[in-house]
Symmetry: C2
Subunit: 332 residues, 2 copies
């Protein structure tokens, strides 16, 4: 564990610096998740939106816009847009993964039903497009609608790659870019776009969000085999769901014949028995797959840092650099 845990965490410092804007974003979210006709919509949405998420993605948009000197009102709309897209994705993910818990609470698909999660997710997607349209900025609309398509494509790719041991690191990276990095990079990029900054700065903001998102997801996938103690992760979820994440892909690439037979049984056939998770963890360690995964996360975090350091120094910029360090601190 890192020394950063003993002081205020970077996302908490960001939240403090952005507290007025975040209050506006929360008010806009509450306003737009309302429905005159279908009270089920705000019920389901509130369950998720108010469950104590860190508002990481909307904070990225607010921080990027502010460090770019944006003085208009639309970073609030864009931050709410990003959170709505994220929330819609979570609702649909929990249906697809048949999840029972999210952020420590029962999922909407469990509390209500899959139907409500699907349809309320659709409503939030539509609301997000209404919100971004209100900015009147066509470039922002292109970036965010492209991100939405990339997210869905990544989710479908993840679905078809599940249980498939031929999944490569390149496919894994596409899945990660889709399911996580696309929204991170769009969130930071639009901050520069509405502030009308020069192209190299917008590019740097995109690169930061992209690399931060990838590092974030690799850490998440690593902690699924390495977490425990204070990380709040439940070890072995991906293993049980037979997801091909980076640690497993690396271990399978280095496996001998006997080990390949093991992975085929537990991942392809889904025949998992007592002791199999322990055996999997042992193989991941034997082949250095966890350590190699950790190095990959650190390498993406370094790219994010380099991108951000190319931008003019400011308090907000330095906080975004700290946030990036914090994302990998859990495995550093």
């Amino acid at each position: 564990m890192n020394v950063m845990n003993s002081v205020t965490k970077p996302h908490e410092r960001l939240a403090d610096l952005l507290k007025d804007e975040l209050a506006d974003v929360n008010a806009l979210i509450r306003d737009r998740m309302a429905s005159d006709h279908a009270p089920r919509i705000p019920e389901v949405t509130a369950h998720l939106v108010e469950a104590g998420g860190k508002r990481l993605r909307p904070m990225l948009t607010l921080a990027a816009a502010k460090m770019c000197g944006y003085a208009g009102p639309y970073h609030i709309h864009l931050a709410a847009t990003v959170e709505f897209i994220h929330t819609a994705t979570l609702l649909h993910d929990d249906v697809v993964d048949e999840s029972a818990k999210r952020r420590g609470r029962p999922t909407a698909n469990l509390l209500w039903d899959n139907k409500s999660s699907v349809l309320v997710g659709d409503y939030l997607f539509a609301r997000s497009f209404q919100l971004m349209t209100e900015t009147g900025n066509l470039r922002v609309l292109r970036i965010l609608s492209n991100a939405a398509a990339t997210i869905a494509e990544g989710e479908v790719l993840q679905l078809t790659a599940a249980q498939d041991l031929t999944t490569t690191e390149a496919i894994y990276l596409q899945v990660v870019r889709g399911k996580t990095a696309a929204l991170f990079s769009a969130a930071t990029e639009v901050g520069g776009v509405i502030a009308d900054r020069p192209e190299p700065e917008i590019k740097a903001l995109f690169d930061y969000g992209d690399a931060l998102g990838i590092a974030f997801q690799i850490v998440d996938d690593l902690l699924d085999y390495w977490g425990g103690d204070a990380t709040g992760k439940n070890i072995g979820d991906d293993f049980r769901e037979r997801k091909l994440t980076l640690p497993l892909i690396k271990a399978y690439a280095a496996a001998n014949d006997e080990e390949r037979a093991f992975w085929k049984r537990v991942i392809e056939k889904g025949d998992q028995r007592d002791g199999d998770l322990e055996r999997a963890l042992e193989l991941l360690n034997t082949h250095g797959a966890l350590e190699a995964t950790r190095q990959e996360a650190l390498s993406w975090a370094a790219k994010a840092k380099t991108a951000m350091q190319s931008l003019p120094q400011s308090e907000m910029r330095d906080l975004l650099i700290d946030l990036n360090d914090y994302v990998v601190a859990r495995v550093n």
Copy 2:
């Protein structure tokens, strides 16, 4: 059955008149349902898009744009947008309704799985927003993103109204506006908007689409109790799914105590036995609920006709009027 069935149907004549544009729309749809990374996406989409739907909604957009004298390229994008929104909605509907058949073929959720239907639907929603953004017309973006929100809201409302015998005709109308009329009215309205027509004409196009969509859905709901022979409908599906459609709402409003007990058992409790559908049909007839529903459909069709007749005469306008007549001809 109406004499119109013996000659070419209005939607076939529309398709003939718009065949070049429809070919462009189909090419654009094929192009945009592709995915470099996830072949599952075009597989699922093609199954539905190429299943021989009538392309009614995209034809409305093309026809409206042409009758308004639009000479640019974007009615093609808007028609493809409308079809993508419709297709995404069908994919999610079939998950929500747990349907096994659509257009006479097994549904995607049956052929693949619910997960694929949810995620491919999300992809098509995102694609539809990319397409409409390409028009660069912010008013069109507002209209279509509002329509998407109204559709999702209507679907949620339908979900919560199911099995609820206190559902009123006003709630039914909201559901119908959401699930069907919102996309019809957006489809015709955007045709006038991209052609930059005066506000009263745009309003008339909206009113036509709105009333046509409502008439279309009421006819569909009526045929669920009245179809059979040549309508292609499977009698009693809504009854079995305990949906509160207009015929049932009218019959329940006129029911005596003994009949109310019957409806409570079969709709609220879902305790349906042999002979219950026959009993339901008898009650719908006894109270004139089917005839009153038919009158309502005809009344909405008359509104659609009036709206369209307010616009300058043209071949396309007259075909849209014929289309409207055709929609209710199945029950006329």
